[in-house]
Amino acid sequence: MKKILFIEDESTLQEAVGEFLRQKGFFVLKAMDGETGLRLAKSERPDLILLDLVLPKKEGFEVLEELKGDEGTKNIPVIILTNLEGLKDLDKAMSFGATTYLVKTQYKLEEIFEKIKKIIGE
């Protein structure tokens, strides 16, 4: 079973999306802030990370930078899942090594599932 780490501070989303991914057959780890997310990424080595950018304790960009700077986690694909829509944010995330950048309101959960499937398989 593939392991996905979902770093998101909105509990509603954490709950709903987590449940959705579980039913799709993934093992979902949840983190409500950047620090916890980073710690879990290092200790659990998930197959993929879904990362929000606006996070308490440690911002998404910092988390991404540290993930990509760490030997143990730098090869884990990271999907940015955010509501920040600026081109600057997108460029920054891609230059930090994100695999893809998705604006939440523009996608259905099914479409996000398709993206995940493409990256790590089912």
Binding site: L13, V17, E85, G86, T105
Partner: protein
């Protein structure tokens, strides 16, 4: 760091991009152009002057006066352009923040509905109610933001209607306190109200002051994590005023943020990082309403040690 910011001040093209206006509307660029015009004018007027006026000192004096005049003029003009450009920049930032603030609850609603209406997705019986409550809460969040935005827009256009009448302020507070008790108790927060006896009625706009009371109590609950206490107090002050205060045992306001908290969207900018949800407009709305009612609002707070907001209102 300082050197960097000084150098970037000199890079006018970068500065102009920041404002997002055309080069000819950009204050820094205009200032440079004006500077060149001044130098050119000075040289020209010196050359022309020295041809017709015999005394060198007179020529220099005239050139000096003309260039000082031009300098002051161009400085004033570019300063006013700077204000316009800054306003335009803040407007786009404002739109960015608002759209982010609206998108968050919208995503929650959209995805929760997708799950609830999906045929292959099996919503556990126990979760169904929770999902519907989520949708309801997020719709309320959007409504709240839009209401706040409308009030802000009215404030900025100077169209906030104030309808004063005589009413019992303590009674209005008591109503709100009992309404918010449901929420505070759900979060294990003790919400209490103490009213000095024999308070007179006040002459003000009750529907606007209700917003102030709601905002302050709501904030106190939001920023108190875990068990805590909120004490609401009303008493007379200086014979012709009343003092309303809301004291919480919450997270407090860090010192470096304290001078900004009444600014529009402040929390949105710095506190995009923070957990609590809110429009970032509440305190701005409070301050404007209180000041329009002839009162004052201020606070005392220490990081991690709670905050007390005070509102003084005139009785008449």
């Amino acid at each position: 760091m300082d050197e960097n910011s000084f150098l970037s001040q000199l890079n006018i093209f970068k500065q102009c991009r920041r404002y997002g206006v055309s080069l000819w509307q950009c204050p820094q660029f205009l200032f440079v152009v004006m500077g060149l015009v001044i130098i050119l004018t000075s040289v020209l007027s010196y050359l022309i002057g020295s041809r017709y006026i015999a005394e060198e000192e007179t020529v220099v004096m005239i050139v000096l006066i003309v260039s000082i005049f031009l300098f002051v003029l161009s400085y004033t003009i570019t300063r006013s352009f700077e204000r316009v450009a800054e306003a335009s920049r803040m407007k786009s930032e404002f739109i960015n923040i608002v759209s982010h603030q609206l998108r968050s609850p919208l995503t929650n609603i959209k995805w929760t509905f997708e799950i609830l209406s999906s045929e292959d997705f099996d919503v556990p019986e126990s979760k169904q109610e929770e999902y519907f409550i989520n949708v309801k809460e997020n719709i309320a969040r959007m409504v709240e933001l839009i209401d706040d935005l409308l009030i802000v827009s009215r404030i900025e256009q100077g169209q906030l209607p104030i309808q004063k009448k005589e009413f019992d302020f303590a009674e209005l507070v008591a109503e709100q306190v009992s309404r918010y008790k449901i929420f505070s108790e759900a979060s294990h927060i003790k919400l209490s109200l103490a009213v000095e006896e024999g308070l007179p009625k006040i002459f003000a706009d009750s529907s606007l002051l209700k917003l102030v009371i709601e905002n302050l109590i709501d904030n106190a609950i939001r920023y108190t994590t875990g068990k805590g206490e909120i004490a609401v107090n009303i008493k007379r002050r200086d014979n012709n005023k009343i003092l309303f205060s809301v004291k919480d045992s919450g997270v407090g306001i860090p010192e470096k943020d304290q001078k900004y908290i009444f600014q529009k969207f402040f929390r949105a900018e710095n506190a995009l990082k923070q957990r609590t949800k809110g429009s970032g407009l509440g305190l701005y709305v409070c301050k404007t309403i209180v000041e329009k009612s002839g009162g004052q609002v201020w606070f005392k707070s220490k990081d991690q040690q709670g905050t007390t907001f005070f509102v003084v209102l005139p009785i008449k």
